[in-house]
Symmetry: D2
């Protein structure tokens, strides 16, 4: 079974024994929990679409280790074509789900590790890369969803990991055993954590010698003893508990983040991909970050949905032909396609790493992500402009269904002929969902901070551009003789 379908994926999750907390209580049935389930549905879409013939080229790939057809989310990029398809897959799934489908983080982790484990081995003669390849084959063979976990709580940002007053502020090894290591710490903001079969840990910053015990990377099954998941709450999350589904906006899909606590978790040696090689921590972070910044191609797909919703509500409101409305729709498209350009360019300008893996252009991936921290906010603003104020003053679905006042809503909230009040409410609720509700968490705030906050990208841009070359060009043109 190299490729699961959605049903099989759901069943595979049922076999996990995760320790998940939400609203202060243990969640007994994670898969069927009404708040969590939409996020499971979104991951399931990554399995489902891989079986649709029309998406085969985008959603699947041929494993370079087994030669089998696999889900692209388990694939190691073998050329720039793979990288470009990854961007297109992100847009496709963003459009299909209208939210964060969570699975890219594992793909990005696998690809980053395929580079760094090779590089470490080259320097130290270690055997991480071989271990990694075996693990990769296991992941590909079972078509697993992996949570790539990077962000530690960090404590006092002015201090290195080993200088923290609480040593657990960065995940670290607390004990070495013959056949493995025992780790403690936590990873915050873990996207899709409770929908994952595996969790792969990476360090979160560059490290120095004193941080050796913090320089670790490894993988464990998500239900390994000692791991606890605490669900983050989202704007409008409890609408999913209400009767009726109209007010959710997005009827089926969502995302989630969790705090994942590791309380003395044992990791067998064959799942350790870095330990003590502190000078590769920064490089692993940077590789992962670049891939993951590319992954924000998905927001282009969510943008597609928001643009489609804005156009639809404009039609329902009877104003789609007003020139200012048309112009706003164009601007939304323009910004959205500018994001698309970034996701394509950083891929098509990729290069081959020593391990054979193809990496995106670090500079352009950072430029792309920087735009992602801006444009979705403006696209959302324009969507709200087009939608009209009703988006935030609309009564509830229960009011619509009420025998007493429902008829008034039917009467007074009617749009153009041929469109039901209910459909008008549905599309408005979708825009609310993406710009203020559960999906806004992903479309806006995660676009800001996911894969690194804006300033992180600016620092990378500053490092990656070749200022000297530009200065040389300028000096030459105006006749300044360069020293030396």
């Amino acid at each position: 079974m190299a490729m699961m379908n959605a049903k099989q994926y759901e069943e595979s999750l049922r076999k996990l024994n995760l320790v998940v907390y939400m609203f202060g209580k243990r969640v007994e049935n994670v898969v069927d929990d009404p708040i969590i389930r939409p996020s499971m549905n979104a991951v399931a879409a990554t399995y489902e679409l891989a079986h649709r013939p029309e998406y085969e080229d985008i959603m699947t790939a041929t494993s370079h280790i087994t030669g089998k057809r696999i889900n692209r989310f388990c694939h190691i990029h073998q050329n720039t074509g793979d990288l470009v398809k990854k961007s297109k897959m992100g847009r496709l799934l963003g459009r299909e789900t209208g939210c964060c489908f969570q699975r890219c983080v594992g793909m990005d982790t696998l690809n980053a590790l395929s580079i760094t484990t090779f590089d470490i081995d080259k320097k130290y003669g270690t055997e991480y890369y071989q271990r990694f390849l075996e693990y990769l084959e296991y992941v590909q063979e079972h078509d697993l969803t992996c949570d790539g976990a990077m962000t530690d709580p960090k404590g006092d940002r002015g201090r290195a990991p080993h200088e923290q007053s609480d040593p657990d502020m960065f995940m670290h090894v607390v004990k070495e055993r013959k056949n493995g290591i025992v780790v403690r710490g936590a990873k915050a903001h873990q996207t899709g954590a409770v929908n994952s079969h595996e969790i792969i840990i990476m360090p979160t910053i560059s490290m120095r010698e004193g941080d050796k015990d913090y320089a670790i990377s490894f993988a464990v099954p998500s239900d390994t003893a000692g791991i606890t998941y605490i669900m983050g709450r989202q704007s409008c999350d409890t609408r999913k508990l209400e009767e009726g589904t109209l007010d959710r906006g997005n009827q089926c899909y969502g995302g989630h983040e969790a705090l994942v606590v590791f309380e003395d978790v044992f990791v067998p040696r064959e799942r350790v991909f870095m330990y003590k090689e502190y000078e590769f921590a920064g490089s692993l972070v940077e590789k992962f970050a670049s891939y993951h910044r590319q992954s924000y191609a998905c927001k282009v797909g969510v943008g597609d949905v928001l643009i489609g919703a804005a156009q639809t509500v404009a039609e329902y409101n009877g104003v789609a032909r007003a020139s200012h409305i048309k112009d706003k729709i164009i601007e939304m498209n323009h910004l959205n396609e500018t994001l698309y350009c970034g996701s394509i360019a950083c891929a098509s300008e990729g290069h081959k790493e020593p391990s054979g893996t193809y990496s995106v252009s670090t500079l352009l991936a950072n430029v792309h992500k920087q735009n992602v921290t801006r444009f979705p906010y403006e696209i959302s603003r324009l969507a709200q402009d087009v939608a009209g104020g009703l988006m935030v003053t609309l009564p509830s679905e229960a009011d619509l269904r009420s025998a007493e006042i429902g008829p008034w809503l039917q009467k007074y909230y009617k749009g153009i002929d041929g469109v039901s009040t209910e459909d008008r409410m549905r599309i408005l609720r979708l825009i609310e969902n993406i710009t203020l509700g559960t999906a806004a968490v992903g479309y806006l705030t995660e676009s800001m901070h996911g894969a690194g906050s804006p300033q992180a990208q600016r620092i990378m841009i500053s490092r990656q551009v070749n200022l000297q070359e530009k200065q040389k060009a300028a000096k030459k043109l105006c006749g300044i003789k360069e020293e030396g």
Copy 2:
């Protein structure tokens, strides 16, 4: 009793017998309803602050009809100083409540009517102005909160009121009685409706002769027979029903909007301020709109809160001294104060109308509001940037209080020394509240559409600027001889 305090205001509301629906059911106790109450608290603040000596100059005024000290919200502006103080009152209350305090709409309606009723009388020898003054005295004497109601459902936007297939798409007179009129229709997006003692109706667009029966303005008590209120729902509204208050962000205040349905409501003659004088409908709309666009000075106050929250979370995160953080705080302040400039300038450049009422500069009020449709979105984006991703991945208050997992949150979500995890969560929840939650409805979407959508302001800007004068100046400078 010319000025109520908060307690008296609350008691006065208890005497009303409003017909309010929410989530499909009649609300039995409006004042104590947990979803509605924060909005009542916000209106109550307009009463409370009027009794604080330090705000006396801003919050109160001397009635030009009775000479008594009254709440400024009941005042007719007598000079540009009054207009400037109105802007400052808006900022003050926005900062105090962090949300929409709802009462400005009544003030703006009273002022607009003080101009238009006078103008109608002047043309037709009617007696609207006298009626209005009597009504005004009643409002001032009892320190009432009025809901100024303008926005009709409008139906097919390409047709005039009297051309609609459903005649109720614009409020209209269905019957004339000896001592008054009977009206039918609805008003949407009514801010603070169920916290109001009175509801004052205005037409929503310019009208022609065929629309005579729609050209009406009048006031009735909010609990008049035939009026039904249907509450709009807001992002995160039901958090107010949860145990604990931390996750609300704003602990005490909120806003609300409602759809108000008039089903054959009787209006006594002495409360009718316009009826059939269709050619004044547009003028009344414009006067009200200008005043109400000025009123968005309140968003400067909400901006103050958001800036304060961003600075606080930056300090809690230990990054307040980073140059990029400081720069973002400066930018937030810059944009916020630019809005303030607009609210002050349109007031200080006001002028006297024939009735003696002072009106804001229409051009600058529209320019101001246009900026309000933009800057709060950017200020919010910057606040989210400064806040960090935790704002949307934070577990619930119940998790924090849980004996099992609470300690982990305490440990792993700690900020700098001396700041509790709970306080860090509180300030993050406030930013969530203003940028994604219940207050985002007011700070963002209502900033966009309240007092007219962006395009409405652009049309007014286009009408109010003197292009000919500018062209003349340009032609003179480049040597083009003007024809004629």
Copy 3:
């Protein structure tokens, strides 16, 4: 003669014996020099308009020391009404001249000195304020134009004035004489310097005790021995030397800046307004800067011209009714009026200083100027968008006049019927002048750097906003107990 007219002003300049260099040569006749003259014309407009009855209220004021009617440029602001009128005067003259009319810098210097000399006297019992008042009366009586000179070359920006390797990098006293002082140094970017009767020196930064000899302010006639003016060149400056005037764009007006070198210039004691009181240097800078940031109200007037030109060319091109063109004109107006709001608000929110002089709101003046560093660039971009590419591909006036090819230009560059090709060229040349040519120096780059570069305003904004107050409001709303 308390108020000169333009003719008298020109004659008064002829009596000066200025040492002016341009293009490496001494300018023999400054007043009639074709490059300089347009800037003289612009200053002359400040005299001329003061005699027009329709502008009397804006252009003139009553001296608080003599009670005479004087040109407002010589006036000390006695109330916020004066400050507001100053902003309006700036816009008026910007619209009349389409460029920098240079005289505000002297007005701002006089007002700043009226505050600081008083404050120094109060602390030290000196007699600067009395000296200043006598000088002010002289300026008012003769209706003089003063160059307020602040910006020193500064040398190594990391060092204080007295620490510079070249002591002349900041103007300083090189010798004390019985009846005065001898100074050396230079002031850069001096707007309108060679059109001025007087030059008033101020320090350019805050100073410490070691900088005592640099803490000087004084006034001297512009043709005092030892002063040399070196003219800065501007984009397209030499078009003023060409035959024909069409290609100038602005037919009559312009601005200029000069480097002013003081080579051991003697200043009599009665013209010294500060000497050694280093702790007032920063305060004088800040007062002047705030007034001068307000003065950028003039750019609203230049914006009026540019908007008028854009509308005119849109009409000539036959596209004025296209919705996207109308929208761009609206946006230009919106941005321009937002600037106007800033210039009005910082004035109407002014306050009285101990000396009796009214000062603008420092915070809002900085906010205003910060917007001036942005919006004119966007207005220019929009003007170029509306104008079309012909603005930069248009042949010369000589081509138009040519018997051989002129007819082709007439034929192929014709706009709509009724408009001559020449007029179309004229309006395009005006837009070129303001966005790329001599006036762009004032409308763009000086908007950026005049009265302090953008970062200077950001620092002031950061200092002037009350962050604590905002944090207090935020903490209160989310339930954080303030320490203490």
Copy 4:
């Protein structure tokens, strides 16, 4: 000789007998004219760089018709790799010349014709494609520079070509001869016209049957009898006539535009590529426009120069380490690389046309160009911010060389140690050149209007995005059942 070098190119131009007018007079020696020569130098760079080994891959290609190594500017794109290299060639040359190097317009014309001539033949069995291939071989063989000429004067924009009162407002056939046609009309804004060997005419808009005589495309040598060139003037053009070169900013390179008048010019049949096939006019325009919008990749290279200049002047001013300066440099780079992403993405997402030629993605090319109408303006604004006010108040080179005042400039305009005042002036003059001077014509106004004004791209974006698909995705997600 398949590839000329710069010297050979210059010599080849000397053999032409062009009729060129400037400042109302015939230019006798075009190649050596001081105003025109820098633009010739820029085209020459396209020849010179093709001979440098390090640029071979970017600057040259293998002809698909002859198999010879040719200059890429003469190449028909055979795959997306060619398209990507074209974008990189544009950036390279923009960085090398700091201006418009003019030759891309011919390349874009050839490629567009290679598609359209094939398509016409397919429909009508004509022989345009064969003719075109023969012409192409001639161009490749002689390494010619072609001026692709599209923009007609257009007259009344509300009327079709054949409805104009002056029939010459669009180029058209005035007579058919046995062996060819005679044409009349003019093409405006012709970039690099007088540096070209050939001129290739295309229609400028979509046409209908009545416009048959206007639906023409053909090529003629640039010095064909009946063709007259009238040079457009640029900001600061005459600085190139002054003694000394410092004030030019860019010491060597520039661009130019001209109005090209065709007065009854004979075109032999074998050079006609379209005649009467009006329904292909729009398609040719669109193909050319898409290629040419991609070509604005060159502005990324000019942006490199401007960023390099800004960084250099920041260093010379001693402020390069200030955090706000670093942040502005990052922002300039971010915007510049965002443009680069667009130029790469529209190329790598290209597709094969029936003729075998590869075409860019029309949607993304338009999105790219739309950003080019915005970002260079903001990059320029930031460059002026970083540069400081001295950029526009700097005296002339003659002042610097003057024995009397030169020493003062040396003294007072010195930057940090180790940098001469002259070098500081040089770099400031370069920034002036790009943001206000001759190069601003290309970097700003042509970025706005070249290859179509902003609104043209917006219309194309609106046509190219698949709104239905987006609406379908949105409706599905919120539960709206699609009709049908």
